[in-house]
Symmetry: C2
Subunit: 114 residues, 2 copies
DNA sequence: TATATACTCAAGCTTATGCTTAACCAAGGT
DNA sequence: ACCTTGGTTAAGCATAAGCTTGAGTATATA
């Protein structure tokens, strides 16, 4: 998961993911819009591949890259879960405030213990 | 967006977000499960706050941290959009293969030009 | 066969990250 | 008043990230 978010934390890499969502591409095709050396692009691709976000296959002298949608799903899943947690909490808080009007609001769950 | 994903790329920071989804907490409360100095925790919190993922407010001598759900939504949104793109592409590819059976499969869109 | 293309690999450099310690300050409790 | 708790600040350090250049290796193409 570390590697996943780390990989997405760079704009060039997000650009590559973006492009690859529209279909597979070669290394130099991915490099074209970027203002950096080919070698740098390859290093970014290694990060993406290590994170599981993309996979690559070399045929002849050209390496073709494609996204690995499952990985993207994993990152999304992590976030979605926390959001769900948060929303459940908001609901409970809403219930609490609805049934105990006018009280100075405190944590309804025992989570601020100390 | 860089800062967002960067912030989520560290396990300690994800742990803090996790905890904060269950409700607000003080700095030392967030520090307790972590094997590092308070100062280090504060630095992580600065990263999280700079990314927009959390907000903090100091009352008396204790700083209370809470998640900023909108930010989490933004990260989720980025991923969801790319997934949608990817799925639309898969659909088009499916249509293509369904109507042109047996052909050695190529990109139906003009995206592998070179 | 010669040349260009599409990478690949290894060094090296600069800046950013993640952490530590130590000194410090302000609020609360006794 | 004194000590403790909760946090802040600054300095320093080791490792990792992002990039470059330069040289090398296959694979196509003319």
């Amino acid at each position: 998961m570390d590697r996943m978010f780390q990989a997405l934390a760079d704009p060039s890499r997000r650009g590559m993911v973006d492009r690859l969502c529209r279909g597979p591409a070669s290394v130099s095709e991915l490099a074209r819009p970027l203002a950096m050396s080919l070698a740098a692009v390859v290093q970014h691709l290694q990060v993406l591949e290590a994170s599981g976000l993309i996979s690559t296959r070399k045929v002849g002298r050209v390496r073709t890259c494609s996204i690995e949608p499952a990985a993207l799903g994993a990152a999304e899943g992590w976030i979605t879960q926390r959001r769900a947690m948060w929303e459940r909490r908001l609901d409970r808080l809403g219930d609490f405030l609805a049934t105990n009007p006018d009280e100075p609001d405190q944590q309804p769950q025992g989570q601020t213990e100390e």
